[in-house]
C-alpha cells in the first residue's frame, strides 16, 4: 500500500473514532440524572432551565438528545464550566496552550534522555550501563508522577527556593505580547530574555517530573532497536571501513535505531497528557489538568466531559502525526493490513 493511500485510510477513520469517543462521553453524561446541569449557568430561573431542556431536546428520546448534544458540540457549544464561571469552549482556549507547553517540554526531556539511555543500554548490552539504564527506566515507569512531584518540591521549592510554583511571574508575563499562549515561546518571540528565564524557571521542575515517567517507553524501544541495529551488516561494513566505533554508533546504528523509536513517541504522549493531570495539580500549573481536577471536586460534569473530548482529540492528532512521520522515515514498513 502506498503511503498516500494509507494516510487517506487513516484520515477517513479519524472522524469515525471521534464519533465513537463522543458516544462514550455522551453515555457518561447520562449517568448523572438530568444532564441539564451541563448547560446551566448560575442563577438561572426554573423557566430558563425549562427553556434549556427544550433547546437541547432533553425531554426527547435518547437518540434525539444525542443529536442535539452533538450539534452543540460541532458549533463549539460544550456547555458551561461551573468551576471557571465561563463557557467551556472559552476556558479550553485559555488553558490548552499551558498544557501543551508543559507536555512538549516534558516530551523533549523524555525523548532526549530516552534516546541517550537507550543507546548506551543497547551498545553496552548486558553490561553494567545496560542494567543501570534499564533499572532507571523501570523506576520511571513505577514512580507515581504526583508523588515524585511532591518529593522534588520539598528541596527545590521549600528549602532552596530555586523554582517557583505556577507558570509565570505576573508582572513579567503581562509585559509580553502573546502570540502562541506558550509562555516560553512568546518570551523568545518578544526577544525578552528576562521573561524567557522566568518561563524556564517555572517550567523546569514540572517538565522533569512529567518527562521522567514518559521516558521509560522510549528507553525500552531505543534499546531493543539499538541491539538489533548493532548486529546489522551495515555496522560491520562501517567498522571494516575503519570508522571509529563512536562514529559507527552515531552515524550508522543510532540513526537506523531512531526510526522504530518514533513509533512509541505517540504512545508516550498519551502518558504525558494523563500525567499532566497530577503534575498541574501539584505545581499549580494553570492548564487543562488543573482545571479538570478542580471540576472533579466540584462535580462539574461539563468540564470533565470536555476534558475527555479534547485530550482524546489531541492524542489522536499526535498519533496521526507520528504515523505520518514514520511512514515517510521508513518506506520499507508495510502499511495497513
Amino acid at each position: 500500500m502506498q503511503v498516500r493511500d494509507y494516510l487517506i485510510r487513516r484520515l477517513a477513520l479519524l472522524p469515525l473514532i471521534m464519533l465513537g469517543v463522543s458516544v462514550i462521553v455522551f453515555t457518561l453524561t447520562r449517568f448523572t440524572g438530568s444532564p441539564v446541569g451541563i448547560y446551566a449557568t448560575p442563577n438561572m430561573t426554573p423557566d430558563e432551565l425549562a427553556a434549556l431542556e427544550q433547546r437541547y431536546l432533553l425531554d426527547q428520546p435518547i437518540p434525539a438528545q444525542y443529536a442535539a448534544w452533538l450539534g452543540g458540540l460541532l458549533r463549539g457549544d460544550l456547555g458551561w464550566s461551573g468551576v471557571s464561571v465561563a463557557p467551556v469552549t472559552d476556558v479550553i482556549g485559555s488553558r490548552i496552550a499551558a498544557t501543551l507547553e508543559l507536555a512538549l517540554a516534558a516530551g523533549i526531556i523524555a525523548v532526549l534522555a530516552g534516546i541517550a539511555l537507550g543507546t548506551i543500554a543497547g551498545v553496552k548490552r548486558n553490561k553494567g550501563p545496560d542494567h543501570a539504564a534499564r533499572f532507571f527506566s523501570i523506576l520511571g515507569a513505577s514512580t507515581p508522577t504526583f508523588w515524585f512531584g511532591l518529593l522534588l518540591l520539598v528541596p527545590f521549592y521549600l528549602w532552596l527556593d530555586w523554582f517557583p510554583l505556577g507558570r509565570s511571574t505576573p508582572d513579567i508575563y503581562s509585559s509580553l505580547a502573546h502570540y502562541t499562549g506558550m509562555y516560553s515561546l512568546d518570551a523568545l518571540l518578544n526577544g525578552n530574555l528576562v521573561a524567557f528565564g522566568d518561563a524556564l524557571r517555572h517550567l523546569v521542575l514540572p517538565a522533569v517530573v512529567l518527562g521522567f515517567g514518559a521516558m521509560a517507553i522510549i528507553v525500552r524501544m531505543m534499546r531493543s532497536s539499538m541491539v538489533e541495529a548493532m548486529s546489522e551488516e551495515y555496522v560491520d561494513a562501517a567498522r571494516a571501513k575503519g570508522l571509529p566505533e563512536r562514529l559507527v554508533i552515531k552515524r550508522h546504528a543510532r540513526r537506523n535505531a531512531l526510526v522504530p523509536t518514533t513509533t512509541v513517541i505517540g504512545l508516550s504522549f498519551g502518558f504525558l497528557l494523563q500525567g499532566s493531570v497530577a503534575v498541574e495539580l501539584i505545581f499549580r500549573w494553570p492548564g487543562l489538568g488543573q482545571w479538570v481536577t478542580s471540576a472533579i471536586l466540584a462535580g462539574d460534569q461539563a468540564t470533565i466531559m470536555a476534558y475527555v473530548l479534547i485530550t482524546a482529540f489531541i492524542f489522536m492528532m499526535v498519533n496521526l502525526a507520528v504515523d505520518i512521520a514514520y511512514a515517510y522515515l521508513d518506506r520499507r514498513v508495510v502499511l495497513g493490513g
Binding site: L13, L16, I17, M18, G20, V21, V23, I24, V25, L28, T29, F31, T32, N126, H131, R134, F135, I138, L139, A141, S142, T143, P144, T145, F146, W147, L150, L151, L153, V154, L158, S224, V227, E228, G270, F271, L273, Q274, G275, V277, A278, L281, V292, T293, A295, I296, L297, G299, Q301, I304, M305, Y307, V308, T311, A312, F315, M316, N319
Partner: protein, 306 residues
Amino acid sequence: MSSLSSVEMGSTKQSVASVKWARRREVAREVLQNPLTVIGLVIILLFLLMAIFAPLLTEANQPDPYQSPRDWANIDSPPGVAGHVLGTDSQGGDLLYGVIWGSRLSLQLSLTVVISTLVIGTIIGSLAAMRGGRLDNFLMRVVDVFLSIPELIFALAIAAVLGPSFRNIILALVAVFWVKYARIIRGEIIRVKQAEYVAAARVVGDSTWNIYRKDVLPNAVTPLIVQATLDMGNVVLIGATLSFIGLAQAGLTEWGALVSAGQSGLLAGHWWVSTFAGLAIVLWALAFNLVGDGLRDVLDPKTEGR
C-alpha cells in the same frame, strides 16, 4: 484393539504433559537467573504476606479496618515517636497502619481489575479473531475508540461520574483496562491460526470450539501473561492517582489517598506521611514491572532482552 489405542493415547497425553512441565521448569529457571526479577518476586512476596497477615501485624480498627485509628494526642508525630513507627498524619492516623492495610486494598484493586479485564478482553478478542469478518471489524473499531482516550483520563471521567469511592475506582479501571487484552489476544490468535497444527486439527474435523480450546488459546496466552503482570503494578499506580486527586472516600487507608493526606503537611516540614505512603506505591509497581520485564525477556524472543 480399542483398549490398546486408548493406552497409547494415554501415554502420548502423558508425554505431552511432561514436555509442557519441562518447558515450564525451563522458563522458571531462566526467569530466576535475572537478579532484578528475583528482587521483584521477593518484594511481591513480602507485600502478599503483609496483606494476608495485616490483622496480626496491627490490630484491625473497628468498625472499619480501612480507616486508620486516630491518636489525637499525637498528631503530626515524626517516625518513632509515641509508638508510631512511621509517624502520624495531621489527623493522628498511624502511617504504618495505613501502609499495611493499604496493601490489602492494593491487592484487592489489582487482582479484581486484572483478572476481570483478562477474562473480558480474552472473550472479546477471541470472538473477533475466531469469527472474523464484520464482527471483528466492529469490535476492533470499538477497541480503537477506547484506545484513543488515555487510560487514566478515561478512568478518571468514569470514576468522577460514578462518584467518589474505592469501589467506583475499581469499576472505572475494569471499564478501561480490558481493551489492551482484547487487542493482544486477537493478534495472537490470528497468528496462531495460521500454524500447521491448527490446519491439521481442522482436517481431522475437530470442532471450532475444540480447536480454540486445545490448540489456539494455549498458544496465544503468553503475551497476556506478561501484560497482566505489568498491569498488576499499573493498575495500582493509576488507582492511586485517582484517589490522590480525590476520587476515593475520605480517610481511606489507600496509598494514594495517604500521599494526598500528607500533602499539606509536606510543606510544613512533615515529610514522612507522603514519603512513606508513596514509597509503598513505588515498591509495589516496581516489583511487578521488574517481574513483568523479566518474563517478557524470557517468553518473548522478539525483544531479545537477554
